[in-house]
Symmetry: C2
Subunit: 406 residues, 2 copies
């Protein structure tokens, strides 16, 4: 079994890194606080005697290999340590630190695996500062060119490549240098299913499609007091119509479609000026590619009707990923491991995007979920019980040991 206190202690230690003046956890990709988190993690990798490799997109790998297995494709465990704004401490970090914990536990057993075992912290999984999300694992899987990814412009106008160089994490390894034999990712569910059903382990067999767009509506600034309602080209009102359209449509849908407008900005943003511009993002998801396309088409048609004399609409694609089906054999291994430890598990789909979704393009992959209290994530109220975290890490241990022939 893994060392529960070491794992839990590290989750808390990393969770204390990157707090702002109000105590909010903010470790956006390639920021100053991300650097602090990375430094802490790399220190732990070195302490554990692992080989540390960093690639050009800033992905960090801790690799355990020896003369016996050198040259074999590794079992790769991964997730991310970047966070959203005002985040919880488990999203991503739990999987990365459990990966390290599993390797340290296996290493101290004295046995030698038939394959190398590696843990990865992928760059910019959250996609909050730079789009798309899951960027580091996407580049690792060859899904986008590293140069294109490094040129991504952040919400603050920064460039990812420059930011990685600035914080000292523009590595020298070519992305994809480490081709996994199998990929396993442990993560909190971030949704309500496991808790509601009282099940400790999710064997994740699929992941829904994700569509991200940035929409800019241009209208005409004018005086809030003197401009009759009939003469307005109010970009803020037009944006509000899109928000309610998306929400009400998804809420009324028979499919599990979700639609979110998470960011919004008005210009000039003055109390007595009709907004000349509104810029906002749309996050649309559905487990069914056909449904997701239908939602995108409905939005496009709505935006077309909105565009009018004085109102123009510009749409930029920020991310688009089709639903993914994970590898059935890896899912079965997870179920078997849970059952051996006497833990109930259920097959499930993931509502969130994950690095596993990208690595599944180049290797058999699946995920292990543990419950999230109240289904809450991307919030400081994110919580999973210690015993549940430890149970999930022990399932990861068993699956990895099995895959690495130990």
């Amino acid at each position: 079994a893994i060392d529960a206190q070491r794992l839990l202690g590290r989750i808390r230690e990393l969770g204390a890194v990157g707090r702002d003046a109000e105590g909010r956890l903010i470790r956006l990709a390639a920021s100053d606080t991300d650097k602090l988190g990375r430094d802490l993690f790399v220190g732990w990798l070195r302490q554990a005697g692992l080989e540390v490799a960093i690639d050009r997109i800033g992905n960090i790998f801790g690799i355990w290999q020896d003369a016996n297995n050198n040259g074999q494709a590794p079992v790769l465990i991964g997730s991310h340590i970047d966070t959203v704004i005002d985040a919880g401490i488990y999203d991503g970090c739990y999987g990365v630190l459990a990966g390290l914990e599993v390797i340290e536990t296996l290493k101290s057993s004295g046995l030698s695996p038939s394959r190398p075992i590696a843990v990865a912290a992928f760059t910019n999984e959250e996609g909050v500062r730079f789009s798309p999300d899951m960027m580091g694992s996407l580049v690792h899987a060859g899904g986008v060119d590293v140069e294109a990814a490094l040129a991504a412009i952040g919400t603050d106008g920064s460039t990812l490549g420059q930011e990685l160089a600035r914080i000292g994490y523009a590595g020298d390894r070519e992305p994809g240098f480490l081709k996994p034999h199998i990929y396993v990712e442990l993560h909190i569910e971030q949704g309500p299913v496991l808790e509601r059903e009282g099940i400790p382990i999710g064997a994740v067999e699929s992941l829904q499609g994700i569509s991200w767009q940035r929409i800019t509506i241009d209208g005409v600034a004018n005086h809030a007091g003197t401009t009759p309602m009939s003469m307005r080209c109010d970009a803020g009102y037009a944006a509000a119509c899109v928000v309610t359209f998306l929400h009400d449509r998804a809420a009324a849908s028979n499919s599990p479609t979700v639609a979110t407008v998470g960011t919004m900005r008005f210009e000039p943003n003055a109390i007595n000026v009709i907004p000349s511009r509104a810029v906002f993002t749309v996050d649309l998801r559905d487990p069914d590619e056909q449904h997701l396309q239908a939602e995108e088409a409905a939005l496009a048609a709505f935006l077309e009707r909105l565009a009018d004399e004085g109102i123009t609409v510009t749409v930029e694609r920020l991310a688009r990923f089709e639903p993914v089906i994970f590898d059935g054999r890896v899912v079965e291994l997870i179920e078997a491991a849970a059952s051996k430890r006497g833990l109930v598990s259920r097959r499930m789909t993931s509502g969130a995007g994950h690095d596993a979704q990208m690595i599944a393009r180049i290797a058999p992959a699946a995920m292990i979920f543990v419950p999230s209290a109240g289904g809450i994530s991307h919030s400081p109220r994110e919580h999973t019980e210690d015993a549940e975290l430890v149970a999930g890490a022990n399932i990861l241990l068993d699956v990895v040991a099995d895959l690495a022939g130990m």
Copy 2:
């Protein structure tokens, strides 16, 4: 007649002060750029040989008085030189600079008025940085205590009193020290009426009521991908519902009610996080106090229905001014002056708030309007033809000369 070139040149010179890197005009009250505009104006007052007085709320007065009329209540001309964000060059500045122009013209006639004549630039008329709008004239009229006004917190967290001291415009005169005999304000219409009807001069007899509120909606942050639509407490969606409610209700109304949401902010403002908070402003106006109260009540009722498990609503009052009826005799003087110069005029109401609205509490007051091209204001597209600006200033000249017994 006034010196058209001098007036137009000064309007352009002041309009060039306070441009940002993109060329946008931003001279928010008590900011660094406001200081530059004030310095330019005060320089012109001194050049014209006027006595300069600055009061504790930063209102600037240029006073022409001599031994003959010392001690008499002055004829006061006023407006403001602060601007909104991305403003035009006429709103406020036109009236202040025309006031100075009128005094210089009368001064150079060699005659002496039976009363002093003064021009005022009131602090923070726009209300974009600090609430309420028309603050300097409100304080001058005794409508709010100067200490309370100086304690106003800006949208950037600054304090008005500190900002005035910082830019060197926390004067030593007690607000209200100069009690006007009559107040006249010349302004661009900022609305579409005069242009549409081809009328050069508006004799403004009333001004609609203004209601400003800041609304904060608190919901629950959660993951955009994992949270079913039915389990969301989406503060951004709730805010969008308020925006569409206000707009659609005002648009459908039989009264000339206008409703504007000019500012909007989401928290944490991340693409894949359901907004935990939305903060926005509501600007409601109606020429009829009863109607305005009904609109406010409808909004309050809507907000009450919105507040729900997981959604809380907080309302702050930023400004509230009842409709104002100007002094009939001053309005008649304006009509008579226009008619003497062979200019058509019409009586009208003002959709915008103005300093005249505050000074009307302590002295007979009225306003002169000139046309706004396309009815556009609070926008860089704000425009009035030179000949129309000059015509308006000449009407002001005649009205002031008459009132000052010249």
